[in-house]
């Protein structure tokens, strides 16, 4: 990944043009050719540095529901409980984390009622209490991951222009 790839990743994290030739427009901004941009994007996707190039949807606006939930899983049962939880298609992510509440998963359902239904199922199957923590207020969902052109590990504030 070179400097131009980094610029592409930064440039394309939001605001992809919705017009007849969007890649040409972005390529113009970056000072590269349209074919070059498309080729580089394909390579970045193939290399697994990007998981997708497309829309990020607002689940609730599409009628669905999302929540974050946690379990306190006894160490000896961790693998078997993970298998039970992951068997539910509504479980989108599942991470082990460092805390007494050591299994954290995201539930995504087609309807808001679905969340309670899946939680009830998981509690029944595992015998554990599910701690449901839906978002109540959103302060920042920038989802921007700025890559610097050169290694720069110092933390910094987003520029005013980037703040929502």
């Amino acid at each position: 990944m070179d400097v131009i790839d980094r610029l592409i990743i930064n440039e394309l994290q939001g605001g992809f043009p919705v017009c007849e030739r969007p890649y040409a427009e972005v390529a113009d901004r970056l000072g590269i050719g349209e074919d070059d941009l498309i080729g580089r994007l394909q390579k970045l996707l193939d290399a697994g540095l990007l998981s997708r190039f497309g829309p990020m949807y607002h689940a609730e606006r599409l009628g669905g529901a999302l929540t974050l939930a946690a379990l306190r899983v006894p160490a000896a049962e961790y693998e078997s409980i993970a298998a039970l939880v992951n068997a539910h298609p509504e479980v989108a992510h599942n991470y082990a984390r460092d805390h007494d509440l050591n299994m954290w998963f995201v539930l995504a359902t087609e309807t808001p009622e679905g969340i309670a239904a899946v939680i009830a199922e998981i509690e029944r199957e595992t015998g554990l209490q599910v701690f449901n923590m839906p978002k109540r207020e959103e302060f920042f969902v920038g989802l921007r991951f700025e890559l610097s052109a050169e290694p720069d590990d110092r933390p910094r504030l987003k520029s005013q222009a980037a703040l929502r």
Binding site: Q13, G15, F16, L62, F131, P134, R136, F140, F145, R156
Partner: protein, 178 residues
Amino acid sequence: MDMSQPTFTQNPSNANDADQRLIAAIQGGLPLSARPYAEIGAGIGLSEAEVIARIADLHAKGTIKRLGVVVRHHELGYSANAMVVWDVPDNRVAALGHCLGGFDFVTLCYRRPRRLPDWPYNLFCMIHGKDRQAVLDQVEFMVTRCDLQDIPRHVLFSKRRFKQRGAVYRPQAADCIP
């Protein structure tokens, strides 16, 4: 962290049929061709202009939050991700939430309910860093800049990732019961 998204088979109240076909058609990604919206339209029976107009509308309404690349942090060398949680007095949550959201290494920041006595934290943010120490340094930076010295906090690094999948949207066929 990629955002997980639900599976939809029908949603008549929020989107008409053409929007649903469009939502399903582009969920996996935009075509990498010179006229991607024309290509999308050809696959679902909409003109290029209509695809453009509908995507712009969905974006304006907030149904599409963003159109762009989804970065894989781990593969880009940001191997430490941490959920940093804070027990903030309710009357200070908004101010602190906005402060925390201002850092470029913070990708998400939400208020969530406490679950006492097991879980006293009500402000959650996700941060990504090159490694564990970088994340801890970032947390110290946030504490200093947002004046959080008196706020109980915990940094939960992720250990194993057990599952991760993307979204699947299925447009409803006319009389199909999912």
